[in-house]
Symmetry: C2
Subunit: 272 residues, 2 copies
């Protein structure tokens, strides 16, 4: 049985707590958050909800907060020599290092000795929404990294309790993977948004595109995206491209159309 | 029983012929193509394969060829006063109008009388690949348009034989819808391609993104893309954006990153 602490009450914290609570081989000991209100929902999923200064050690303490707050939270953890990991795709493992015990250096005049917990990363690659009840954690890849080799085994065991796709990668790979996820999720989703806007201007419900969305993703998964590319840019069909550019009234829509069309034309032009 | 002709031997022609052949209320009489080789595969799906000059009338003749060839093919159809439709999202219905009987004006010195078939559009909104055996036509929206009101009933009946989502729209709406599909399919697929490239540079298999791809599309369908947007651009997180721009080595990758990031920031900035 692996004992886990979770610091944070956002979407990642929520889905992690839910996933661990549904398993027999891990238990969430404490969830630490800033306010009673945000902690209430976590009560059924853990032994105890606490504020950060009350947190006591567990086998693994997971910091699931925004990138900007990781370092500050790590510094405020009131124990040392434990395995403490964050869940970020972007932030390096090093922000967890050289953590001062019990707060900032200034507040601890009587204990200037630098201490630290043992750092690690536990990055689940997914776009989390709190209301996503259908989320199946077993399908979500978890990328792990640890400072200390011995900790890798613990972290891997913990990750494998909830996921079928656990992999060790270094911070540089993780950062690149996170960037790839920005293209694969954030940017595709904005393309969907623009498609919805174009539908609206012609009084067409976005729903008519649903079958196309599903097929686009299915093909990219089954055959790879390169083989699945179609459309005027792929064919370098200048007549259609020109007509579509003229149809676009919003300058930002036009700029995106032109930039991605050029990118596609260049990409497949090189291949020909 | 509606009798159908199909002109063309590409992906759209193939999936239409297959879908009609699997039903009892429509029958593909003739498939017209340029070469015996391309027609062979269609033999089990229709009564007869022919060259265009041999084509005889049916209730509906569907021209399923590239945008650039529609007008030329329509002109070469050797009969008149029949319902002839094309399958393009981009091309107007008017290219089918004023069709000369039996070839170009020059080749028909002895028959200068203008004749025409009755024009229509039969646009199935999907990204078709010939090898896509899992394609379920019943889910694919078909958008119809006819010159003559009486023909709309025939075309709607035919479309409803294979699709559960048949809708009448005009050429302007169809053109806008086709443009929306470019964003929803072509551009998202290129974002997948770029994500794959970024994975490759770090020796990470693209497969690790599959769960994210599925979830992205599922959320856009269930909650709409606007509500589903996440990431540094949505949060206007300048620190992450700057770091990611620096990570991108390919100038085209960087340009796409910057353009879409700006678009997302503007889009949600306006909403705040």
């Amino acid at each position: 049985m692996i004992e886990v602490n979770i610091i944070g009450t956002g979407n990642v914290a929520w889905h992690l707590a839910k996933a661990f609570a549904a398993q027999n081989n891990a238990v969430v000991m404490q969830v630490a958050g800033r306010t009673v209100e945000t902690l209430v929902a976590f009560e059924p999923l853990c032994h105890k909800t606490v504020t950060l200064d009350q947190l006591t050690p567990a086998d693994v303490t997971i910091i699931a907060v925004n990138d900007d707050s990781i370092s500050e939270v790590a510094t405020a953890i009131p124990f040392e020599n434990q395995l403490v990991v964050h869940t970020s795709g972007f932030t390096g493992m090093d922000v967890l290092g050289n953590v001062m015990v019990g707060g900032s250096a200034l507040s601890r005049k009587h204990n200037t000795q630098k201490s630290k917990n043992r750092a690690g990363v536990f990055y689940p690659l997914q776009s989390f929404s709190k209301d996503d009840v259908s989320l199946d954690f077993s399908e979500i890849p978890i990328f792990i990294e640890t400072e200390d080799e011995k900790d890798e085994k613990t972290l891997r065991t913990l990750a494998e309790i909830i996921s079928n796709a656990v992999q060790s990668i270094n911070s540089e790979q993780r950062r690149q993977l996170h960037l790839a996820a920005v293209f694969a999720n954030n940017f595709t989703n904005h393309c969907y948004t623009l498609a919805e806007e174009l539908c609206k201007t012609s009084d067409i419900p976005f729903e008519v595109l649903h079958a196309l969305l599903k097929k686009t993703t299915q093909k990219a998964i089954e055959n790879g995206p390169t083989k699945s590319q179609t459309g005027p840019a792929k064919r370098d069909d200048k007549r259609v491209i020109k007509a579509q550019q003229e149809l676009l009234k919003d300058p930002m829509h036009k700029e995106i159309y032109t930039t991605i069309t050029q990118a596609i034309t260049d990409f497949y032009g090189k291949e020909l």
